[in-house]
């Protein structure tokens, strides 16, 4: 078919309409985001955490986390001088409303924020029988809601207790590291609101990320290293009593 001027005038609007139709079904794209150029983790600076609960509240609001469930939470540790092997750990309402003053101020007291460790060799991903849980190419452990059966294997497998079954959808839910934010160039909701900088999102593939300098110059640990999960949430200044 020869394209005459008249035919082109007819075809162009038709093509525009068709293109709009094609675009209508696709989710909001994240421009310039390349999955292979990132490797996400987080840095948690325990000596900076004041236990204000901002992160827990922000997470609940950003991700619509049901009441009584937590994708991130804060634990208050009380390590008595004479009972160092048995620390008292409390987390009233996940630390959402802060922490009341503790009766015993002796010994060591500190806060530990917790969240999914986005493990490289994550037990939760390995046990999922239907491939609903996966590690994205940029290192974030995610759940495909439409594939999840709600069998709870992953909830039991996670050594950090970071997963729960959403009572509304009956599917497994967990921290997504605010995947919908970090792919748009924003930081996570918890890191955004942390007033002291105790939480910092880290892109381990970005050579300009301050995380590299921090990891080089500080004594940094992960939770339960003996489980060999390849956790990517790094804790600075963590006491040996933290479980």
């Amino acid at each position: 078919m020869e394209i005459t001027r008249r035919r082109l005038l007819v075809l162009l609007p038709a093509a525009a309409v068709a293109w709009k139709f094609v675009l209508a079904g696709t989710p909001e794209a994240a421009p310039n985001y390349k999955l292979t150029e990132h490797w996400w983790g987080m840095l948690i600076d325990i000596p900076k955490c004041i236990g204000c609960g901002s992160c827990v509240r922000a997470c609940a609001e950003e991700n619509d986390v049901p009441e009584g469930y937590y994708r991130t939470w804060i634990e208050r540790y009380h390590v008595a001088d004479w009972k160092i092997e048995k620390p008292e750990v409390e987390s009233p309402d996940g630390g959402k409303q802060g922490f009341p003053p503790h009766a015993d101020d002796d010994g060591k007291n500190f806060f530990v924020p917790k969240l999914c460790n986005h493990c490289v060799d994550s037990p939760c991903t390995q046990v999922c029988p239907v491939g609903a849980t996966f590690i994205s190419p940029d290192g974030v452990v995610l759940v495909d809601k439409s594939y999840c059966l709600g069998c709870r294997y992953c909830v039991q497998a996670c050594p950090y207790g970071c997963r729960f079954l959403n009572p509304k959808t009956n599917t497994a839910e967990k921290c997504t590291l605010c995947y919908h934010r970090i792919t748009k160039g924003l930081t996570t909701a918890c890191c955004e609101v942390c007033p002291t900088g105790a939480r910092q999102l880290a892109d381990l593939k970005n050579p300009r990320d301050p995380i590299h300098e921090f990891l080089k110059t500080h004594t940094v640990q992960v939770l339960k290293p003996h489980m060999a999960t390849g956790a990517k949430v790094f804790y600075n200044g963590m006491d040996g009593s933290v479980r």
Partner: protein, 168 residues
């Protein structure tokens, strides 16, 4: 000879039909994006990415509220993001005209961080509210964006500075 392998051919045909049926069924049932990145549905990533955001991020706030940025630069709260106190404001950022952030009660908001607690870092400014102010709103004396004591505010209000002296 041919008669001997007839049952084998029949079997081969049945297996071939079963195989074709399996391939067709598999193509129909398995989502197209399955296996795009690994043993999962690749489209699930796009679905998670498409979730709307609730917290706009301090860079967005700072685009308009430059006066507050200048105020914050003068004090220690320069490191505190806007939405840490003001809450999620993506809706306000999208439509500043009709969605207005709620006014904050400083007697509640400040306490979340600055109430004394043994587990807080020792160098973090904290007060026992009951001793420090008796629970009155913190902005009676302090300017939240630049949280030093404002003598002008104390003069204007009825609080005397002796009342506000407490543990720092």
């Amino acid at each position: 000879m041919l008669k001997d392998i007839e049952h084998l051919i029949r079997l081969a045909v049945v297996i071939a039909i079963a195989l074709v049926a399996f391939v067709i069924l598999r193509a129909a049932v398995v989502p197209r994006s399955f296996g795009e990145y690994g043993h999962y549905r690749g489209a699930a990533i796009d679905e998670i990415v498409s979730r709307p955001i609730a917290f706009a991020g301090h860079e967005t706030c700072e685009g308009c509220h430059t006066d507050v940025v200048d105020q914050k630069k003068l004090g220690k709260h320069v490191v505190v993001a806007c939405e840490a106190c003001h809450g999620a404001q993506a809706k306000h950022a999208d439509d500043p005209g009709s969605v207005q952030p709620a006014k904050l009660d400083t007697a509640v908001v400040c306490v979340r961080c600055h109430e004394a607690n043994a587990a807080k870092p020792k160098n973090f400014p904290q007060v026992a509210t009951a001793d420090h102010s008796g629970g009155i709103a913190c902005d009676t004396c302090h300017q939240p964006h630049r949280p030093r004591i404002e003598t002008a505010k104390i003069d204007a209000g009825k609080t005397d500075s002796a009342k506000t002296e407490g543990r720092k």
